[in-house]
Amino acid sequence: MDPRPPASRLTQQEQLAEQQQVAQTTAAAHEVGSPEELLRQDARHTTVPERVRDRLQRSIAQEPQPRKPWWRRLFGP
């Protein structure tokens, strides 16, 4: 005689839900490949808006000109 109580309907539902969750996680892991691959793919499809470059170029132009090294200041250009 089996000492275990018969599985209730709720337990069966729980088991089914658990199996589905495992299957979903496995499918997701398969879908993802590796997070790094996914992030690389995402990064490849991301472009930096041109306006960032333009804005930076303008900001850099407003920066004070870096000092010439002493030998240039002393001996010319």
Binding site: Q24, T25, A27, A28, A29, E31, V32, S34, P35, E36, L38, L39, R40, Q41, D42, A43, H45, T46, T47, V48, P49, R51, V52, R53, R55, L56, Q57, R58, S59, I60, A61, E63, Q65, P66, K68, P69, R72
Partner: protein
């Protein structure tokens, strides 16, 4: 890449656009931007979760780098150096936002602008959806895992460089990465 600064000077007296170009090209900084801008923008985008903030951060990171470029000694690769500036900059921004308990909602149209302009509408939609899922997934991760995965995803960075940037040993990076991948996969599944 030529890391040692060419010790010439640009002529700031040139008329507007020419002076801008001269300053931009000075010491090969235009090349530095061309090579690393996407990586820095992407890191900022995924750490901050807002394209407009990521644009500002990218601008600010490269401006800081330009100011310090003359003193950059080449102890680390330029990419690693830029990442360090970017990580600190983004952390400061996040701390400031948290202090104000503010979070701006990115305009939907701005997300579309983040996709490559040459792509088809369907591809843009897929890219946008993937980007949004990745963003939601990353936001569900502990900050340490988020940064770790973003850095390791950059094939230009060695584990040692990632370890340097995150202030831990390469072995610790490997151990945490294993857990971070699992957490990411589980969180990504929930975004479907």
């Amino acid at each position: 890449m030529q890391l040692v600064a060419e010790l010439g000077s640009f002529d700031a007296r040139l008329p507007g656009p020419q002076a801008e170009t001269a300053a931009w090209e000075y010491r090969g900084f235009a090349g530095v931007y061309a090579e690393h801008a996407r990586a820095i923008y992407y890191l900022a985008l995924r750490l901050l979760g807002d394209p407009t903030q990521a644009e500002d951060a990218t601008h600010d990171v490269f401006l800081k780098a330009y100011r310090k470029f003359a003193t950059f000694r080449g102890d680390a690769a330029v990419r690693t150096w830029l990442y360090r500036i970017a990580i600190n900059h983004c952390r400061n921004l996040q701390q400031a936002w948290q202090a104000r308990t503010m979070r701006s909602n990115a305009d939907e149209s701005v997300w579309e602008q983040a996709a490559s302009p040459a792509e088809t509408p369907l591809r843009i939609l897929e890219t946008k959806e993937l980007g949004e899922r990745i963003q939601r997934t990353l936001e569900a991760l502990p900050a340490e895992y988020r940064l770790l995965l973003l850095l390791v995803a950059d094939e230009h960075l060695s584990y040692d460089a990632v370890a340097q940037l995150t202030g831990q040993s390469a072995d610790a990076v490997r151990g945490k990465l294993h857990r971070a991948r699992k957490v990411f996969a589980a969180a990504f599944a929930k975004t479907a």
